[in-house]
Symmetry: C2
DNA sequence: GCTGACGTAACTGTAATTGTTACAGCAGGC
DNA sequence: GCCTGCTGTAACAATTACAGTTACGTCAGC
């Protein structure tokens, strides 16, 4: 489907900020997060900007600038992140509108629309069941690399 | 997500063939289906080729060539079509592997992997609940355009 | 051998994602 | 009042996938 990594990177960033704050720091910089995620700081700032628009994080400017959580990790779900970061639907319709003179061409879009809506609703429900708190817990539960 | 229309077009093609066969015809051509879906016959042949590999349709060559269902519409589910037509996962991991020296960078991929697997399993379950028979029923239930 | 459609390669256009550079703007410290 | 470090955002390149299109070899029945 040519899936993208936006949800993954956004969850990574939130988990990173959350852990960093638990260690006593006030704000995290896009530079630090980008290093952990092995990507470019601008990519992180873009994603965090969308999360801020959704009210999940806050940013400070000036000296001592950076990013902090607007809500606790336990109150943020993957659905919140998904909706902030993925605008479009899961499945697309025909590019060109099908032949309306054909029975199938005429009825296929409303039919699939209805089916897709139900499926996306289920997906949302599943995403809503996973909090970022659980994500961080799973992250920390990963087996340590033996040196 | 940059969603594609492959599942939609494949379902369209199967519903079209199914209806056409119920009207007494033996095989449908990619040309006819492409006209209904308002796309190119090659696009249809490519998709139907994948459905054939999955055992959902059959094709004849030579004179009187075309496509026919290998199984009844009531025994084909959207999951069958989805698996035939969409190879990859729903969500992607990081492009570059994250910093393994960072706790989050190290644990994020197994954590998200596990979460994503559960979600995709639910998606599959939902897709499996919809038969192509139901799709065709919904298609035919669409309100007629008044002339 | 003629015909009509499949099977598939090859190429193009378009769009999305990601990475990257560049630079203006802000806020606190000196 | 200027310096500094980071945000905010524009702009562009590289890569990739999807969809559309053309072209042509292949097959099977007449």
């Amino acid at each position: 489907m040519s899936a993208n990594s936006r949800l993954t990177i956004a969850a990574h960033a939130l988990a990173w900020i959350g852990l960093y704050q638990r260690q006593g720091h006030e704000v995290a910089t896009s530079e630090q997060i980008a290093t952990s995620a092995n990507t470019n700081p601008v990519v992180i700032r873009r994603l965090l900007g969308e999360l801020r628009r959704a009210g999940l994080v806050e940013s400070r400017r000036g000296v001592g600038a950076g990013w902090s959580l607007a809500r606790g990790l336990e109150s943020i779900t993957l659905l919140d992140v998904y909706e902030a970061v993925e605008p479009g639907p899961l499945f697309a319709m025909h590019r060109a509108t099908p032949d309306q003179g054909c029975v199938v061409g005429h009825g296929i879009q409303p039919a699939m629309q209805g089916i897709y809506e139900g499926i996306e609703e289920t997906l949302r429900h599943e995403l809503a069941r996973v909090t970022l708190e659980k994500v961080l817990r799973d992250v920390l539960a990963a087996p340590r690399q033996p040196l």
